[in-house]
Amino acid sequence: MQDNNFQDCVKCTLCTAYCPMAAVNPFYIGPKQAGPDGERYRLKDKAFYDYALKYCLNCKRCESACPSGVRIGDIIAKAKLESGQFRPGLRERILANTDLMGSLAVPFSPIVNPVLKLDVSKKLMDGVLKIDHRRTFPAYAGQTFKRWYDKHAKKDQEAFAQQVYYFHGCYANYNYPKLGQDLVKLMNACGYGVRLLEKEKCCGVALISNGMGAQAKRQAKVNLASIRKAGATVLTTSTTCTMTLRDEYPHVLGLDNADVRDNICLALKFLCEKVESGAVRLAFKPDYQKKVAYHTSCHAEKQGSWIYSLRLLGLIPGVQLTVMESSCCGISGTFGFKKENYAYSQGIGEKLFNNIRSANPDYVATECETCKWQIEMSTGFEVINPICLLADALDMEATRAMNGVR
């Protein structure tokens, strides 16, 4: 675990120059003041600059810019949790409790989805909860990924000589089981059986950003215990879950994960390595033709994991790939759902939306689920996780044969 290094700051203000929130929001003091400067004052008074911290997107683009390696985003995220001033209301609890809301909504998805789409419900949420009426809520699935897995996939997994675990996260589970299903199919075709963790909770990213540190810590402990118990590679499909499990647990929640951190791995990275080393081979459909625009999400940028996606997408013969200039889409998880943030959120994303419009792709590819909601809502282009794109483009039959899978 690393210590808070705010004293390394040389006051150059580059972080503020590169912060997407400071660029659009006159009320945000910017990373230098909210982070290392504020930390100095917070030694005396925990609530210092507190009013401004809620604007931080936790995108970590300030950290990527800082020439001194100050962990500005971590400092801000921690200050938010520790100040004690940031009291989550009903709205924060609803938005952040992805597990609870998902479990309640999925069984009733035929009712919940249309209701969420109704103007009157949007107005109601806007009026009562201050969740912006212009937002489109991601639809809930009819059946969770976990249920699908237990019913249709679990029994086949034992047969594979090699095994990996999968941390599916809330989005694949409640909103988009196809992502998890595609991952299982893909890994199976490559010769790997996929298991689920004994217990999985939401990684807690939304709890952290909404000031619910204690609950985030409880969930993190459950996840870490399961990951330890698995004692093997745990694949992920979301860049944000990955960053939370690997980096936010130690840096923001203060939980030591050094013994298992390296086991937690984005599936795209795992696959890319296997393909490059020749351990896994992929065969693609000959007639697959798509124009794809790749969007580097903030947390892919921070972790550098986008290089694996580009490598893999580059392997698909029929994919014509354009890489968008890396910039924030503005949603930042639950941030953009809040009424008071809607305009900032859209303002930040504008540059990316324009770039996507001029690329005019068949798909936008990105590993972040909240980027998907934001980009789909704001541009109308379909957004797809590179895992699903690979699964789409693969000749599964031929791939299985090449990897010796019956």
Binding site: C12, T13, Y18, I29, Q33, P67, K302, G304
Partner: protein
């Protein structure tokens, strides 16, 4: 993961080297751990300071034999200067430089300094052409630019320099913001109509002036706002750098990166190289903090990690070292001898750096690595303050390394 070339450091030298390679079809990876010193630069590059009547060749000949220019070979330099300027031009950057001689520019403190190549919007002139009546414009409430100081410095040179403080509604609104009133924030709001209104206000005040000088707070992402303000001012006009961060510097960084990406380059911007594997006399691969289990392999590696500020070099009380591989470094004496108490004098530590052979190849424990090069501020032997050579050393060594790699 295998690339043709891997460049460590994405500042001026790393980017120019990589762009040059990518223009020749090489698949390059840049890994850079944070923003570079380009973001603080003045928007002008120095090549070498020349005395009155002295040519570049004469100034170079007077340099010590371990200066990077001498190491590269003085006969190579004119070609490398051309090539570096061409790389910037092809990246869409408007520059000014004269064949074989320096021009002058005005520093944030109002002093005159020589430069080899300046961004088109920045001051650039020969002393004899310096206008006699100048108006220095300040933005109201902006503290990183001191018009009075600049005017008084110009006054000491016998130039009649007036000042005026202006604002437009956009900058006034920004002043009320919670965030700092700094160059990059100002540049963000000064675009389009705001610029036209500012230019109108300037034109009203500038009737008697024949040159208008403004702080460089125009055009954070593209050149257009900077060109626009200069175009809309009726009199000749130029920009003067501000205190950090530098708007022209941020834009230069951005445009070079865009150029590299458009040539198919891969730029990993939030990671640091932390080690490598050497076999015999070759560097096989490097490792990074974010991808500790991956070997990044390449035919050639270029170290473009900058100096102490960028952590390309590090120091303890008794030694100076290169942190990634412990490459051979040149330094003398111990801590007490590294600094000159006169802060304006040449600092001994500034000439410390990585040793190379004449083809810019680095060594470890006295053994040359056949496929690893060093370029830019991390090279030993330069004495930036004494000889005025920082940007030139970075740009020219970068182009040279690319050339040597391509010729293999």
């Amino acid at each position: 993961m295998k690339y043709d070339e891997i460049i460590i450091g994405g500042g001026l030298s790393g980017l120019l080297c990589a762009i040059s390679l990518a223009e020749n079809g090489r698949q390059c990876l840049i890994v850079s751990q944070g923003q570079s010193t380009l973001n603080f630069s003045s928007g002008a590059l120095e090549f070498i300071r020349t005395k009155e009547g002295e040519t570049y060749e004469q100034a170079i000949a007077a340099l010590p034999s371990d200066h990077p220019y001498q190491v590269i070979g003085s006969s190579e330099l004119p070609r490398l200067r051309e090539e570096a300027a061409g790389l910037l031009r092809r990246a869409g950057i408007t520059t000014f430089c004269e064949n074989g001689r320096n021009h002058w520019r005005i520093t944030p403190l109002g002093a005159l300094k020589q430069a080899w190549l300046s961004l088109g919007e920045m001051t650039h002139f020969q002393k004899e052409d310096l206008p006699r009546r100048v108006l220095v414009v300040d933005i109201k409430g902006y503290l990183d630019f001191n018009a009075a100081f600049i005017a008084s410095s110009l006054g000491e040179m016998g130039i009649q320099a007036g000042i005026c403080e202006l604002s437009v509604s956009e900058t006034e609104k920004l002043r009320e913001n919670a965030s700092e009133f700094r160059s990059a924030n100002i540049a963000r709001v000064l675009d389009g109509y705001a610029i036209d209104r500012l230019a109108e206000a300037i034109n009203e005040k500038a009737a008697d002036a024949d040159w208008v000088l403004l702080p460089a707070v125009f055009g954070l992402e593209k050149e257009e706002p900077a060109c626009r303000i200069l175009r809309k001012i009726d009199k000749a006009a130029s920009l003067i750098p501000t205190m950090a961060p530098s708007v022209p510097g941020i834009r230069l960084q951005r445009m070079l990166k865009q150029r590299f990406l458009s040539l198919g380059g891969i730029f990993v911007g939030a990671d640091s190289v932390c080690g490598g594997d050497i076999a015999g006399d070759r560097l096989q691969s490097v490792r990074t903090v974010n991808h500790p289990d991956i070997r990044f392999e390449a035919d050639h590696f270029v170290f473009a990690c900058g100096s102490f500020f960028s952590k390309g070099l590090m120091a303890t009380q008794d030694k100076v070292y290169e942190p990634i591989l412990g490459l051979d470094v040149r330094y003398e004496g111990s801590h007490g001898d590294w600094f000159n108490p006169d802060v304006y004098a040449d600092q001994p530590y500034m000439s410390f750096g990585v040793r190379t052979d004449r083809t810019l190849r680095v060594s470890r424990e006295g053994k040359t690595l056949e496929n690893a090069y060093a370029v830019g501020q991390m090279l030993s032997g330069a004495s930036p303050i004494k000889s005025g050579c920082t940007g030139g050393v970075s740009a020219l060594s970068a182009v040279r390394a690319a050339e040597l790699i391509l010729n293999q």
